[in-house]
Amino acid sequence: MKKIFRISVVIACLLIMTLAVVGCKPAEEDKMVIGFLSGIYEIQWEQDMEKELKKFAEEEDATIITMDSHLDPAEQLQQLDTMISQGVDGIIIFVANQKISQTVVDKCLEEGIPIVGESNRLIDEEGNICAPCVELDGYGMGVICAEWLVQYMEDNGISAPYEGVGFMNLHEADVSNIVDRADGAEETFFSLLPDFPKDNYFRVETGKEGGAAAGFNIAQATISGNPQIKKWVVIAPQDDQGGGVVRALEQAGLADDSVVVSMGAESARYEWADKGSDTCWKAASFFSAYDCAVHAWRGLMEQVKEGKALEDVFADSKEPGQKYGLVKFTGQMVTPDNFREIMGEYAE
């Protein structure tokens, strides 16, 4: 018996130590508590979101509780229950799967808890928005990247009849936001350069694996399959894929004349910090969690503080025919020369 007692004391100490080490404090009673239901905390974006939200919370003397569902909708519903039973004052959610949106929103309405969706729209069975949301304007991102690319081509004498010039536009068919980005890029590119030969246009599928390896593989296959192309102009919808394309161009010996534009800038910044402008990775569109968090926080505070009803949030940015507001944010272009000043702490 003594031993069991001793063992349990040891466990208790270990547990307390573990918790002490991670520095958790019990929430105070009257403080405002905001729940952040992260879809997949492993990605940098969500960690940045948490960081930005915490900054806003600090100003209001509020606390952020973060829970991670690992993209498991069941887990997320569970965490929603836990948050509700913990009496949170509002919820910001990256919904793990859009199909559970209505369940999530219904629960919050029932409990009278304000909610704003981020990144992944909250939609009902018909695909209509069912709670205020903030999301990245994928199409808009494609637009600004294509605009920058076309300007670059004009500045560097890449012009009609575009002999030996190929336009590679990466996309991933299963992810709607990526498809939007690629569509935006494609449509803008051809509306600005209607003479660009369709034979020299390559819209390529990166497949599910994602990441730099996927970008590298698909680019290498496209480059070696089209030896007539000597100059590549490339738009990659994800930054690490852009990095893969750059490596593939370098290995094919085509890097000097080619140009890669990517979206996100979280990988490009390393390349630029390392090599300066001595790379064919010429630009990236940059957006940060701040752009998202600022709107999400505003939307939530409109409910928590001003007591606005769900349908009155983001009233000025509703899409036609929609009951709830949707804020779309885009980014801005950064290059090796200006990325530090524009990206600020995200450049490090």
Partner: protein, 322 residues
């Protein structure tokens, strides 16, 4: 008092009970909102699906088998149910009947791979895990399917007297299998084939038939869990339940079931389930940073299993002294 202590000492699950108490006490002290009825209901609610699969997995491992496919089977069942509702417009009863029939078939496939093709259970069910995950994606075209049937959703998300129906399901099924495993001939046979399959065969048992039953039970339980959850999410999700079987296996091992088969109790597994879910919930409630939660969960496993280790050493010593 002496008597109570004696019972306590002899019980296999002392270490687990101690851990459970410590976990609950520590979290309650650190955060008062942990120790509330709604939160305990949350904990049980979260445990309900893993609990279902745990029951099947525990019996399989006691019987010297293992099944890696329940997560896929649960996802497949949820999607299948959703499709039967949406595309074929069936009502709850036929849908449940068809899905359970499919689960029986899956269990049959698993057991025949093990019995007739003599594939190691680990490998055989690794294969079916992949197959049924794939099929779950195929039958719904890769994206999740909405469920509108009110009754079906009620089973997944509804409550009776404030208690979620999933919990009632889990408790009823647990009691049934507790009785089956402990009091019936079939249950005893499970222990025997897990303890020594050759000896069991020579004692006139039919290990193949018992394995068929075990794999079917596990698939059906996974399928019921999958349907309950689909009801709760208003949709069949092909990506749901990833890693469900590993959660269940972790609980089973923590619950004192020997990986080599032949010993263990469902009571131990149930306590282990409560420990893991309480701990998970406690970390959330305390707002421990996400990555530290993973570290803490690993530490809990190490601690709980080392208690088991020290206890077994003590038991060995005791039996040597005799």
């Amino acid at each position: 008092m002496r008597h109570i202590i004696d019972v306590f000492k002899r019980s296999e699950n002392v270490g687990l009970v101690v851990v459970l108490i410590v976990v609950i006490v520590v979290f309650s002290v650190l955060q008062s909102s942990f120790f509330t009825v709604p939160n305990f209901i949350n904990i049980l609610f979260a445990a309900s699906v893993v609990g279902m699969v745990m029951l099947g997995e525990a019996m399989l491992i006691i019987g010297g088998q293992i099944d890696l496919s329940p997560g896929s089977v649960a996802a497949f069942s949820g999607v299948l149910a959703a499709i039967l509702f949406e595309r074929y417009d069936l009502s709850v009863l036929p849908v449940v009947a068809i899905v359970i029939a499919a689960a029986v078939l899956i269990g049959l496939i698993n057991s025949q791979l093990v019995n007739f093709l003599k594939i190691q259970p680990f490998i055989a069910t690794l294969a079916t895990m992949s197959i049924f995950r794939g099929l779950a994606h195929i039958i719904c075209g890769g994206s999740s399917v909405h469920i509108r049937d009110r009754l079906f959703i009620y089973f997944g998300a509804g409550r009776i007297f404030g208690i979620p129906i999933s919990i009632i399901f889990l408790i009823v099924v647990s009691v049934i299998f507790f009785i089956i495993l402990n009091r019936t001939r079939f249950g005893r046979h499970v222990y025997m084939i897990g303890g020594n399959e050759t000896a069991a065969r020579l004692a006139g048992l039919n290990p193949e038939r018992i394995k068929v039953a075990l794999y079917i039970i596990t698939s059906v339980l996974a399928s019921i869990g999958g349907m309950l959850l689909a009801g709760r999410m208003n949709s069949g999700q092909p990506v749901a339940h990833n890693g469900l079987e590993f959660d269940a296996i972790t609980v089973v091992i923590l619950g004192g079931v020997s990986f080599s088969g032949g010993s263990g109790t469902l009571t131990g597994c149930f306590i282990a389930l409560l420990i893991l879910e309480s701990f998970k919930n406690g970390l959330l409630v305390l707002n421990v940073p996400v990555f530290w939660q993973q570290v803490a969960r690993g530490l809990l496993l190490v601690i709980a299993l080392s208690i088991d280790y020290f206890r077994s050493i003590r038991r060995k010593k005791a039996s040597k002294d005799q």
